[in-house]
Symmetry: none
Amino acid sequence: MSSKDKIITAAIEVFSEHGYHRASMDEIALRACVAKGTLYYNFPNKAQLFKTLVKQGLQEIMDTTCQALDMPLTLEESIQRVIRLNLDMFLESTNFAHIIFNELSNGIEQEVLLEIKELRREYLHFLADILEESKCGGYVRDVNCMIAATSIVGMLQSSCNYYLNNKNEMSREDLEYFLFTLITKGLFTTHA
Amino acid sequence: MSSKDKIITAAIEVFSEHGYHRASMDEIALRACVAKGTLYYNFPNKAQLFKTLVKQGLQEIMDTTCQALDMPLTLEESIQRVIRLNLDMFLESTNFAHIIFNELSNGIEQEVLLEIKELRREYLHFLADILEESKCGGYVRDVNCMIAATSIVGMLQSSCNYYLNNKNEMSREDLEYFLFTLITKGLFTTHA
Amino acid sequence: MSSKDKIITAAIEVFSEHGYHRASMDEIALRACVAKGTLYYNFPNKAQLFKTLVKQGLQEIMDTTCQALDMPLTLEESIQRVIRLNLDMFLESTNFAHIIFNELSNGIEQEVLLEIKELRREYLHFLADILEESKCGGYVRDVNCMIAATSIVGMLQSSCNYYLNNKNEMSREDLEYFLFTLITKGLFTTHA
Amino acid sequence: MSSKDKIITAAIEVFSEHGYHRASMDEIALRACVAKGTLYYNFPNKAQLFKTLVKQGLQEIMDTTCQALDMPLTLEESIQRVIRLNLDMFLESTNFAHIIFNELSNGIEQEVLLEIKELRREYLHFLADILEESKCGGYVRDVNCMIAATSIVGMLQSSCNYYLNNKNEMSREDLEYFLFTLITKGLFTTHA
DNA sequence: TATGAATGAGTTTTCATTCAT
DNA sequence: AATGAATGAAAACTCATTCAT
């Protein structure tokens, strides 16, 4: 495993545990079992290291989603798959997802912040395009698909967060069913 | 205007602009036009100051919402009002709302973090109770109201965020209508 | 009880518990149940407040000792009394005694430090004079009485400290007997 | 000279001059000619830095004393040597010795304070063991050797302090002779 | 005589970043 | 390609003291 990879693995851990600001380069180096200098040999600075992780993370979800949709499916099945995959991401690495989608507001170096926002936007566009297609098929109500995608992601994330802190109240199936219903009933035409 | 009030006003500004971690006590003091010592005379530390703001903010929304619902309204009208009030909050002070609902994940002093999470939970319960009532009336589908409330807040917030960054794409009415539809169609029975 | 007295009582407590530097005027005011301003109304500053306590404390011991010696006693009895009284002081308010005799070295405002050192010196002189008298009577070896007094006080204090932390090892009588023996055998001529 | 050594040298100076609380990390860094960050790179905090100094200081005295006693000597000679070495320490670095033996009372971070007290205790045990041996040989009266050692150290320290401030009154030989006499007559049996 | 809000200089500590090796 | 000692700016927080009331 290369130094770079060790650093990336460690960085995801540390950023997830402490959030961007409280994550220290020292701890990342320690966890990666490399010297601090090695961090800066591989990444120009903290913000860029963070951006790399975000980019990689979002790319992975998009790739997985693409693969999952790359087969003949009914609209319902497609929707369910996308929800399930996103739930996987949010539940498996909630903190990291949280960071990507939320802790970006302020306090991160402008230059990098903008790039990360752009990445996030790309991901939302990716989801919006799926909705757009369904809209063309007449299955989705006439809504702004970007804002619909944004809303869905916000909903997924906040509900996952709640679910993780209150697992006793409901099963993962319940959560999935709830979200599936809310989204289909809320966004889709009755024919769906 | 008392020092305490000046500090609170300044603190909301600064926390909103920079997020919790990048907000510095120095800047808050500067903006409030008081000495740094005055900050610490009025609030024991940064985290407690922050908690005060959050508490006050959430209380205000709850109060306003309660007032708004304290009159004979159809269910539709009630829903619309709650959405509108929450949109007001999210749009008028997005960053602050963002902080309350998101930047709490990690990196804030445990003790205070837990208190704030509890406050947030109270607010969600407050919303969930409104839904619960409607459920008893048979207007809302049989869902876990807490997770529904959580999802709605997540949705409101992420969509507001998007709207603020893309005002050219849609009007506030569009946003409100979209959310109203998504929520009513998604959560309510057809009779509603 | 006057404000001044309340402050003095509280101050002794707080200085004893935390040492001069860690004792805060805030805590003293709190314990004395007066406002902070009242401290500064009664004493010009922290150092002067401290000096007042020291002065008062040393004066009390000297007075008590004088009284105790102001009656016909054999030399042995006199010695024993002086030891006992000093032990009382050191044991009852070790921390305060510690402060008076030790924590004065550095870090206290020069001006006041010198005054306090002078007070301590007076006390040592007081003890030295008692020795001097015995020396004239031929009971004490020909030593520098000031250094003998200084040594005795140092010994009393360090042994009290040890005793307080290791009460299980010895009784107060053992301690008193040990010190009495060490001092008489060490300083006195065999006739004593 | 390594940064660490420079810091230690400077720290001893500064702590000696101002006492623990008034010694500032800024001044230590300045004197050591290193950046403030370097202090914290080498020592986790002020208290630990202080502990390091104390540990090192006490170790040195014990080592020197051991060496000095590691040769055939009469009891008298041994005693004299131990006194002389301790005097050396107290006179050469009075302030530092003062800090070790006195300024520990209160106001230092608990955790470190306890460690330092333990170190001091070790040193006293070291002295007590020397006395214990002599006691077995029948040269020392039947006393609790720990409290004897404690008393001796207290006596040495306070008398040194006095001597340093009143050099005109007596020579170092006088001081040494006085202490030697007080200790041998006070603690030893007449055969010694 | 007493108050307590306000001050600001001073202190410890953190941490991203640099650079000689 | 990797190291880790060194840096210094920035941050949170403390506390003796002042002063208008």
